[in-house]
């Protein structure tokens, strides 16, 4: 067989080119889809030419693994409902992290075998990159799986905390780093053999990922998902260096993802006015504000009254939250907006960056329902509009519309919110009298201009549609 391996590098270069172009085309909704198609084609070809790598064995195993993994990924991604997207993204991200950890493990086992467990080639740069890549990849794998379990509802989404948690987490991290250093240096004076501390290193990395994600609750998921996305990217980049010669396609793609994920993570944390440290170590919702008495009472309203209010309004803003996703109400909400639009009411959607469980969650759901993205306004765009708005319909959102964020001393203090309370009327669609994720009482519900419409969001929106049709 002729050696065609020279083709690999040119193809990888072209792949990176199309990845970057693909990301660039995401700067506009109209071009975004073609961008991902190009990137996908490039990825497919890159995978195919990888089979030409010289000296490759286990090719049959490889093909089987690709069919199993690819088949699972394809079917699961095709079938998942749009409302379940956050956990799907967490799952695939975790798998990438797991693959990166696996590459590190194979590389380190290879190094160990080559040195026979002594320090002959220990301390090489390859080992260093493989260890750091393995640590980050392992953390991302275990952490993403926990995030997946929480989002899927297979695990309690509330923060899981216990005394000494931070001490334990820090200890596990330090031990993981120490065992990683042992793996790199393999010093002769350590009585343990590498066969002991190499597996230990991976167990500790996975353990830290798990422990680190346990205390993080549902509403912080947008930050967590994007951070693990960045982690996996970095792990992939580092693992690119564990090959000789380095796999630059992995390095560049991984670093670009790392940059994207970091940027998103910071954006999300800023949208909640919290530092990354606070998200991961704060166990949000554990602190309760004391000594604040909320004035007023919760005043219910019925569907017919709300329908009349909406029908004769000039301007209505809809502020959706995670509750809309849970109730799968987006289709009914879109119907409602269309009906109002047909009556000449100006309808807009107010999207808080962290509403939902992943960055851009509400935009995706509303796009699925067919709402033109021109009607979706970001927090900064929409906030000046609330004072001139007749009715705000809050659908399953809580913390992101809680005016307590303006009050010093509140756990939410400083979080930029949707200032819905400035509208003439606020209608809150709500399942029951419970609190938001943060476990903080919402002042908004007690305001004089607020009325509560109890019930399942989808059902309530449906009844509003019926009532509007009769008017």
């Amino acid at each position: 067989m002729t050696d065609l391996s020279w083709i690999i590098d040119p193809v990888y270069i072209a792949t990176i080119f199309f990845f970057i172009v693909g990301m660039q085309r995401m700067s506009h909704p109209l071009t975004a889809r073609s961008g991902i198609v190009w990137a996908g084609a490039a990825m497919l070809i890159a995978t195919l030419v990888t089979f030409l790598t010289p000296g490759l064995t286990n090719v049959a195993l490889m093909a089987i693994a690709i069919v199993i993994g690819g088949g699972f990924g394809y079917l699961a991604a095709k079938r998942v409902a749009m409302t379940d997207m956050p956990q799907m993204i967490a799952l695939y991200n975790g798998m990438g992290g797991g693959a990166a950890a696996g590459i590190s493990a194979v590389a380190l086992l290879g190094l160990t075998a080559a040195t026979g467990g002594d320090a002959a080639t220990a301390g090489s740069a390859t080992g260093l990159f493989a260890v750091i890549g393995g640590l980050i990849g392992g953390v991302s794998f275990a952490g993403s799986i926990i995030a997946f379990l929480k989002l899927q509802g297979w695990m309690r989404p509330r923060p899981i905390t216990f005394s000494g948690q931070q001490l334990l987490n820090t200890t596990v991290l330090i031990l993981a780093i120490l065992s990683g250093i042992l793996v790199i240096l393999q010093p002769a004076w350590v009585p343990l053999s590498v066969a002991v501390y190499l597996p230990l290193f991976f167990v500790l990395a996975l353990g830290f990922g798990l422990l680190m994600t346990l205390p993080i609750g549902g509403a912080d998921m947008p930050v967590v998902i994007s951070m693990y996305n960045a982690f996996t990217g970095l792990a992939v980049a580092l693992d690119g260096f564990s090959f000789a010669p380095p796999n630059y396609a992995m390095v560049i793609a991984g670093i670009i993802v790392g940059a994207a994920g970091s940027l998103l993570t910071l954006n999300m944390a800023k949208a909640m006015n919290r530092s990354i440290r606070n998200v991961f170590f704060g166990a949000f919702g554990a602190t309760e504000e004391t000594g604040v008495q909320i004035q007023g009472s919760m005043k219910p309203i019925d569907v017919d009254d709300v329908a009349v209010m909406l029908a004769y309004a000039d301007k209505v803003i809809i502020a959706p939250g995670y509750g809309m996703a849970v109730a799968q109400a987006q289709q009914k909400v879109k119907e409602l907006a269309d009906l109002l639009g047909a009556r000449g009411v100006e309808v807009k959607f107010a999207i808080h960056p962290v509403a939902g469980r992943m960055p851009g969650h509400m935009n995706v759901l509303l796009a699925e329902a067919g709402v033109d993205y021109g009607h979706l306004l970001d927090r900064d765009e929409v906030n000046p509009e609330f004072p001139s708005t007749d009715v705000v319909l809050v659908i399953g959102a809580n913390d992101v519309v809680n005016p307590a964020a303006h009050r010093q001393g509140s756990p939410l203090f400083g979080m930029p919110i949707l200032d819905v309370e400035q509208a003439k009327n606020v209608i809150v669609l709500k399942r029951g009298q419970g609190r938001g994720f943060a476990g903080i009482e919402n002042d908004l519900f007690y305001r004089d201009n607020t009325r509560l419409l109890y019930g399942d969001a989808q059902e309530t929106a449906g009844r509003l549609v019926q009532a509007l049709k009769k008017l």
Binding site: G22, R33, Y92, I103, A125, I225, M250
Partner: protein
């Protein structure tokens, strides 16, 4: 990777890639944040080619087993990431079509 030149080359490349990523991504509008995330999720699926090489060069049964699992995970990452991103972007594509929305 023992060669120090290779190491520095790698640092040059890493720095430029980080800037490229930052510049390209900071232009993505807020409404596309989910596809941006799942799209970059797909792009780190390039880990598949690394997993393939790792499995291809594995010699002991343990290495083969780990490599095998890594390829499965990498392949699921690539296809899942692609399909999810494509599905989401398809919706944005559809939502913009005139006549579909009754909103004015």
């Amino acid at each position: 990777m023992t060669d120090i030149t290779t190491l520095w080359t790698a640092v040059y490349i890493a720095m430029l890639a980080a800037f490229t990523g930052y510049v390209v991504i900071s232009r993505v509008p807020v409404i596309l944040h989910t596809p941006l995330m799942s799209g970059s999720n797909f792009i780190h699926g390039i880990v598949l080619v690394g997993a393939m090489v790792a499995l291809g060069l594995a010699t002991t049964p343990l290495e083969q087993a780990i490599g095998f699992v890594a390829v499965i995970l990498g392949a699921a990452n690539v296809t899942g990431g692609y399909v999810v991103t494509e599905r989401i972007l398809q919706m944005f594509d559809r939502a913009k079509k005139p006549g579909k929305g009754g909103l004015k």
